[in-house]
Symmetry: C2
Subunit: 244 residues, 2 copies
């Protein structure tokens, strides 16, 4: 593989529902065959209208209870529970759930930064589909073949700090299976599967300052990782997970 | 931030103990002020002679016992235990420990790929120091100011696939604290600390094929993340960890 480059795509206009995201991206940057475009979840969710006004939410008894444990507003906890299929950990200041998509993350991906006061932003309903639709728009406008990754910023156990991971992918190999590949000395590899889409999201994430209005990052030089992938490939089944 | 680029540094010669790594890197690539060089742990460990011949290892009773549980050779388990301060999870095929450095990872970072038959390769004794020494050699040879990250490929809970993370850093801000920073709409950010060194390692990891003889990756365009960091900044204290 030769070099890889990441280029940020900035826009000062606020993304709103129905905003023609593909057109806005293409107004700012060109795309070539093999490019992979990383788009932050917040941008996709806003374009899809996945925002909720907290004062229109009536918390259930369960949400009120859990809100007390974690020290978060009951309306917010209600929205998080509605996005979740199970609570993984609840402690003061911490609410880690498994979302309906299968992501294990803090607050079910629901967050309040860069969202209007009193509102919260949810993950896209089907982030793979969001990636696929954006990819189709971009490909039909340009005639080139690209990949799209939708990213979000998650914490992780064991290590401090958050990092961008893929929550949606289209046209990108999410997971590269190396089992059976031999190393330089002709032996079987111990590293067996590489989380490609997460690596691309993490690399792009370094260019997404939280204030700078980056609506996408173009990764160039990773065309060997194009293929039919889904973020579902990256989800460890709960029954195989020793930490859930 | 403008664009970021990653360039692989390849070498076909096998890295051996005492190999002048800095000179080999500089024979292949130029360095500018602000570049960050990512070097795989395996390359650093081999240069430091951190390899062990398994048939010279006598497994303790505890290692023999644990080897039975996890289905790995007792000699290998003995080496892993010697690198560890505690076992986090043991199950058939899986041995996750906390290393003496504080990393939680499979097999204590001990691995057999790209190592001579019958030998295993350990993590550097003090990977931050390894990064610092390599940085000093590179800086004094070139007169430029750079950062160095030592990376390794770790699995993670909840998600499938492995990803490169930082195990050593020098001249790089490992963790960027955003607490108190305001978002575009003037509100406090929910994402509070970014794992910068891990993001750089992950981005570079996409260029480190497991067979291709990549001895380093040069990241350019990330100079805003230079600073005094240590991988210790990235280690979540066990008492604050809900998953250990």
């Amino acid at each position: 593989m030769n070099g890889v480059s990441y280029q940020p795509v900035r826009s000062d206009e606020e993304v709103t529902t129905g905003a023609p995201l593909a057109a806005r991206i293409l107004a700012k940057i060109d795309l070539d065959d093999g490019d992979i475009l990383v788009v932050p979840q917040k941008v996709v969710s806003k374009a899809e209208g996945r925002c909720v006004r907290l004062d229109g939410v009536t918390p259930s008894a369960r949400a009120v209870d859990l809100a007390r444990t974690v020290g978060k507003p009951p309306e917010l906890v209600e929205v998080i529970l509605a996005e979740s299929r199970r609570v993984v950990r609840a402690a003061p200041g911490v609410l880690i759930v498994e979302t309906s998509h299968g992501f294990v993350c803090a607050n079910g991906g629901v967050d309040r930064s860069n969202v209007k006061e009193g509102w919260v932003c949810l993950l896209p309903e089907e982030p793979d589909r969001s990636a696929q639709q954006l990819r189709q728009h971009l490909e039909s406008a340009t005639g080139v073949r690209i990949g799209v990754v939708v990213s979000d910023t998650f914490g992780r156990p064991w290590r401090l700090g958050q990092q961008d991971v893929a929550v949606g992918a289209s046209g990108v190999l999410s997971l590269l299976d190396l089992r059976g590949t031999l190393d330089r000395l002709g032996r079987r590899l111990e590293v067996s599967e590489l989380a490609i889409a997460d690596g691309i999201a993490a690399g792009a994430g370094l260019l997404m300052g939280k204030r700078e209005g980056v609506i996408a990052v173009r990764a160039r030089g990773l065309s060997e990782f194009m293929g039919d992938g889904s973020v579902r490939d990256l989800l460890r089944p709960a029954k195989d997970d020793l930490f859930r």
